[in-house]
Every structure is written in C-alpha cells, then in structure tokens.
Amino acid sequence: MVRTLLRASAALMLTSAIATAPALADPFGVFGSAVSGANTAIKNVENAKPPASASQNVAQVPPVTQQPVGGPQAVGLPVGWTYTLDASSAYPFGNIGTLGKRWLPGGVDGVVGFGVSPNLRVVLNYYEIQHYPVGFNSGQVPLFLPPGFPPTPGVNPSCVDLSGATSATCTGINPQFNVTTKDRFGLALFEKLIDVGSYKHRAIPIVLTPTYVSRWSTIAASNGNGDVVPFVSVDGRPFTNVTTRSVQDYALALTVPLLKTPKMFGTFTVAPTWLVHPAGANVTNHPQLYQILYLEYTPFPRTKLFVEPQASRDYLPEDVYPEHNMAYFAGISQSFGKMVFAQLVLNSGGPSNISPYGVKQLNCYALPCSSNTLPVVGGLKATQLQFQIGIGSPSVIQF
C-alpha cells in the first residue's frame, strides 16, 4: 500500500514542481579564447623567416609600428588594435531526451585587443556558447519523499520517468525540463610573449597569459531569472537562490609550441586556475589545472582543420568539488577574403568524476511534492555542432 501511494505520488510532477536543474556541461572550457591569442603569437613567431645572422635568434620582435591586419609578416602578438566579431548557432547531439533536437539559441562573440608590442598585448573578450545536456530528460529516476519517510528499498522511494513514459513501476513526467543553456563569458587577458631560446636558428616562444574570467548564464527553465534554478547538490544540500553558473576565476595560462611544419601547427597549454571566491555548494578552492592540446592542419591557404582535446576543470556554484571535464572540439574553418570567415565545430564534453549523467533523482522537500521537489543533478554532458560566421582581424583568427 505504501508503494501504491508513492507510485501515485510520482504523478505529481506535472506542474512547475520540478525545478529544473542547472546545466553543468561546458565542453569549451574557459580558456578556448585565451589559447587563441597565444597560438597566434607562437605561430607568427614560428612562421617568421630566420634572421640573416644565426646569432640573432631572439630578434623576433617586430617594429612597434607593424600593423596586424594585412601588411608585412607578423612576428609575434598582433600589434595595435585587433578585433573579431561573429555569430553562431548550435545543434545538439546525443540523447537529449524528449525536449527534441533543434537548433539552440544563437550567440555572438566579440574580441577586441590592443597590442602594445609583438610580445605584449591586452585583450577583452566576450563570447556566448549554447548547449543542452545529453540525457537530461531521459530515463527513470527515484523519487524521494521528505526526510522522515523511512527509506524502504523497493517501496519508498518510488520512481518517475523523465522521458514522460508511464510504466508498470514509474509514472512519466510531462512536460519536460527545458535546460537549454547559454553561457556567457567575459575575459580580460594580458598576453606576454617570451622567447626562451632557439632551435635551428628559430626562436622558441612561449606565452604567459594572466587571465580574469567572469561567466554567467541563462537557463531556459529559470523563467527569466538568469541562471538561478533550484537544485540539490551531490552531497544532498538543497539550494533555491544560487546563480548556478555564475563564477569568477583567476588563471595563469602557459602556452608552449608543440608542432610546426609547413601545414601543421600545435601547442599545449596549462592553466592553473582559482576561484575569485567560492559560492553556492563550493566547499574548497584548490588550484585547478586546465590542460589544452591544440593541433591544426592547413591543407589550403584559406582552409584549416583543427582539433582541441581538453582536460578542463569546471568549478561552478552547484559543484561541491570541481568537475573534471574531458572535452574536445574539432572543426573546419574557411576564410573568405581578408575579413570574413566561417567555422563549423563539433564539440563534446562531460565530467569524468560525476555520475550518472543527467538528473540523478528527485527529492521532495515538503508536501505537497507538486510544489516542493528539486532534482539532484549528476554529471552533465553536452555534445553539439556549432556553426559560426564572422569578421575580424585575420591575424587573430589565424588565417
């Protein structure tokens, strides 16, 4: 009888009862754009012709009057003003449940930088990414009544089916959670190109990039409240008024060259990162180490293929401990003229230290459950294809 009661109670979720969980997955990582500037600088240095005198192996610094757009060969960080502006949209892949696959809301990116010299540049960066967690609306999850109801296996809790399907054991939930997420990043980067030696008369450049990152988000289910959505942390604490994806970080990225041939190029970046301040469910603030490998192939002068696997760390307010995200993005870029480019990127990422993916369980914190239930969110993975078209300084977009 108890089971009957609880099974029936699963039907309660038909309203706004189930506050939607925040999306956690961020397959791009924070430092995608930070790497971009460093790559440009390293590529420019490596593309520079060897000096006439083999002893002058550090003289890669261009004249301060060198222009970044067009003109002579750049030899380091772009000097003077540079910019990039693009618009993008994304299409989700994987099992995103019954929300239904569709193009996600579009976003825009904007970058403006000023290079004081080929080895010193300041960049402000704003970009948006969209994603939808894989599997968020799929599968059966347990329903837990408020603390005080004895946990009797097989009886209490019962379960609900997030796919909306009602089965012999679970009641389906419909409508589904719309956790379409648009993350927004604001970055301030201070890029410093350093020559650390030479090899075969060519400079060996590295780039140090002290960075400040501020991110925030919009989650569809917040009903106009930004990224504030109630949730239960993995350690069982309920939160109702936390900006789930708003965080500020300090980082120090180090990018080193890895590969250079006439058509191939590669770098590796490590970036120790700290929260400016813990928030929400955070319980620690130990340095996290981003690791980014960037490999590029240029079969034609205006066409570029690239892949960028990452071991990234997300430490968002809904995380008790940082997420260890394994992510990649792979794509193709095509330039049109000097200023216009298009790019198609397949990217995917999810935490390796949080399972299962998606909604883990539903906790009812007070009766009636139809207005007092929160999801416990496990790891959130996202995979999507992003199409991007924009204009900008060629030296920055690396054509």
Binding site: M1, V2, L5, G148, R237, T240, A366, L367, P368
Partner: protein, 529 residues
Amino acid sequence: MIEFLKRPLAALALVALAACSNGNGTGVTPAPAPPAPGVPSNGGIVQQNFVGVGDSLTAGFQSSGLLGDPTATSPASALPGGAVPVTQENGFWALMYLKYNGLALDPAKYNLDTAVGSPKGPLPLIKAPGLGSQLVLNATTLLAPTHSGCDGFNDQAFSPSAWSLTRLGPGAPIADVAVPGITTHEVLSMVSPLTGPPNGPNCGYVSLPGDVTSGPLQALVQGESLMFYPMLGQFQQTLGAGKTTELGAAASMHPKLATVWLGGNDILKYIESHGQSPATDSPTQYASDLQQIITTLQKGGAQVVVADLPDILGHPHSGEPPIATFIAQTSLAADLEQLGVPAALAVPTASYVQTTYTKGPGGFVLINGVLSIVSQLQQNPAAPVVLDPAGPGSGDGQVYLDQTFAAQAIALNDAYNQTTDAVATATGAALAPVTSTFVGLSSTGVPLAPGVTLTTRYGGGIFSFDGVHPSDTGYALVANLFIQAADTKYSLTIPPVTAAEVGGIASADPYNPFVIKTLDPAYPLPFNQ
C-alpha cells in the same frame, strides 16, 4: 440525552491524531538559520543532565492541544474563570524532571509554581491559546475547542522565523525536545516541517489532481510539521538549519539521563492512513532507528530509559480493551445506549455498523465516529448511519477500523513492543513497562477511594479528552514507570510520585470524571467498563 449530545461532534472530530499529528510549505530548507525573535545566537542551549526524547507523550500533550501558559482562558471553558488547563507542566517528563531534581510537586496548581512552570525552565512552554486545538469542558456542548487548529497562532509555528512568537521564553534553555506527532524515523531525519499550514476548508489540505502527496498525506504529517520549530527551532541557531534533528538536539546537550518513548505515532499514522503511511517504520526499520537513537545518546554519556507502548487497540482475544479513543465493536451498542440512544435503536445500529463497516466483532469505531452515529440517529433514526464521508472505505482508519485491518494494526503494535523490549535488552537501556502496566490498568483502573476509580475508557479519567493522551493522573502513573526503571537499572534514587501525590494530582485533574461531575452533574461519561 441524544439532544444533549448534538453538541460535541465538531469538537471531537478534532481528537487524537489531528492534534497529535498536526503543518508549512516552507519548501526547501535554507542553509542559514533565520533569526527568530527572542532567541539568542547560541539558541540558549546549555548542558542538561536530564533530557526527554519522544513525541506528544513526552511533550505533555493533552486533549488535542499543547499549552504551557497558565494565564490561558477561553469563553469555551466551563472551568472556573474560563481557565484552560495547561498540559506541558503535567506531562510525565515534567513530573520526572521535578523528581530527578528533588523539587516538590504542586499538583493543586498544576505545578505552575515549580521549575517546570517557569518560562526559564526545561519545557518549551507554549503561549496561550496553545498549539493545536485544545478541547475543554463546555457548559453547553460538553466539549469544545478553545480555538481553531488553523488559526494565525498555529500558522506562526510553521514559519522558520516566526515560530518563537508561540513560545514563552523562546530563548530559554530547554531539555524536553519531544515533538508531538513525530515518528521514530523522523527523530533521526526530520529537519524541517514536512508540510505547510492547512490551506483548505475545515483546517484541511487541498487535494491537487495527480498529486497524492497533497491533501490526506499533508494532513498525516501536519502534527510534527506544526510542532517542529516551536520545539526545535532554537537548536537551529547552533546546529544549523536543515541539520537539526530531534536526536541531534538531544545529543547536543550531553545528558546524563534521557528518556526515549517513541513509536506511538508510527502506529497511529498507520491506522489513520489505513496502512498507507509512508512515515511509519516497518518493525525492522523501527528496531534500527530505535537502536541508533539509544546508542547515540549512550555514546554521549547518557543513561537511557526507553518505554514500550500501550496496546492501542487492546487485545480482543484476551479481553484487553483499546485505549479510550477507540470503541470496540463489541461495546458499541452499550456505549450508544449510555449516550442516550434507546436500546431498540442502539442494538440494530451497532449490528448495521458491524455488517457495513467494521466487518466483524474485531472492528472498532473511533469516538468521533460514535458521536457521529448519535448525531445521525438524532436527525433521522430510520436512516442507515454513514461512516464513509467520501465514498466506500473513506472512513476506514479515521472513523472506524474494519476487523481485518484492525488485526494488522494490532500485529504491528505487538511487533513494535517486542522490538522495543529487544532493543532495550540489546543496548542495555532501562525499560519502562508501559504495555503491561496499561494491561493492568485496563482491568483494575486507578482506585482513588471506595467507588471512585479512574478507568481507561473514554471519559474514565486516565486519558484526556482526545482519548489518546493521558490525563494528569495518567501521566503521573507513567512517570513512575520511568522513574522505577531508571532507579532499578542504574541504581539511581529518584523518588517516585507518591500515592498521596497521585491522589492530589487526581483531585485537581481536569479530566477526572468525578471532578467534572462536581461542575456538571449531567456529565454522561465515562463509558462503562
């Protein structure tokens, strides 16, 4: 007599569970404890030598209410000056506290002039008009509630910030952390009200389509939800909101001696929900939970006295009657007659109830059901009585108990008592033998003088007007069981409540029918044995 008994129906519909178990939709518990007026930052918590863990029985609940304010009056009360009897100061734990600390009882003043009657004392004293809806003797309707169970005073208790407005001395250190309505598992796990204040008509909850956790299930956990903050709110200042459990509060005081009396609400919620209560422990879970409660207190240095439960539905095979609020099918005809129903009508009515509702002589009708029968017969003696207010079976559990289900409830009650005894042995805790004591009381009563014997039947003087919670006299008897168990097991020297003191308590007991008859000679109770 039937005319006379038209009056108390509304009042007695509120008995027992409704008050014992009464709730806020505060939703999710926030992390920080909100400030409560009058409560210091440390919650007023200090070390206590003697602590009470339990439910309404340990809190001193009586007659569907919890009250500690001696100034309470009500126009509904037929007592001199419209006085409303306090309940908390007369509970067994309060009496044992006085004895443990060598303080004198003052039953003539309901102990209001003792330590337990002080707002700075060990009880979480509740202001007037009290939490719940206390039933008092009424000049015209026999019994009447002092106030609504869903009025503004009660609603304050559901609020994490306004609960202290229901307390006398909300910042004073308390030692009785019992939460009326709480189940055994909730002692370990409940950290906030499980539901909000009633939002429906007649102090009920609105049933939402498709959500069976609304309506009846909310009503089932209303009691402990109403009482949680007034009893435990101040501990959130030190233990944290969302982390304060009754056991945690008790353990934080590091007592040397603790009483643990639980399980009653598990059984009563099982009965009220007709077996569907998800808040009720299975016997196995009960054993695990009770053992955890006892051992946690023991690890903190406490000697623990645990008690089993009365046989709530009695034992029909041995002839033991149920506690007062349950009327055995076998005595229904006689009880109807005593309430004024002519024998020619009482007998066939009882037979009809057995055939239609209780399904056999092993069934029961609750006191509110009995009074409903009387009312219906008054209005139309020829019409069949209706005990299912919302369709077939809807009254089973709350108005009557069918024979088959009653047997299941009795079996669960037995299992709980066996479990309590076994856990007491396993943990080395002292056992207060409430079960066997009430078996004896049900046959002998409490003889006060020749021809003056209190009984366990409804109105008999051992139970209060809700028929579930003891009267002042009943609590005094229970106090002695705990005292004797503690003295025997731990070689303590807590003096018992003496026979003279029991007599003094009985003589001032507002639930003693012989006292009541001096105020209202027409008082029709108690039911005959």
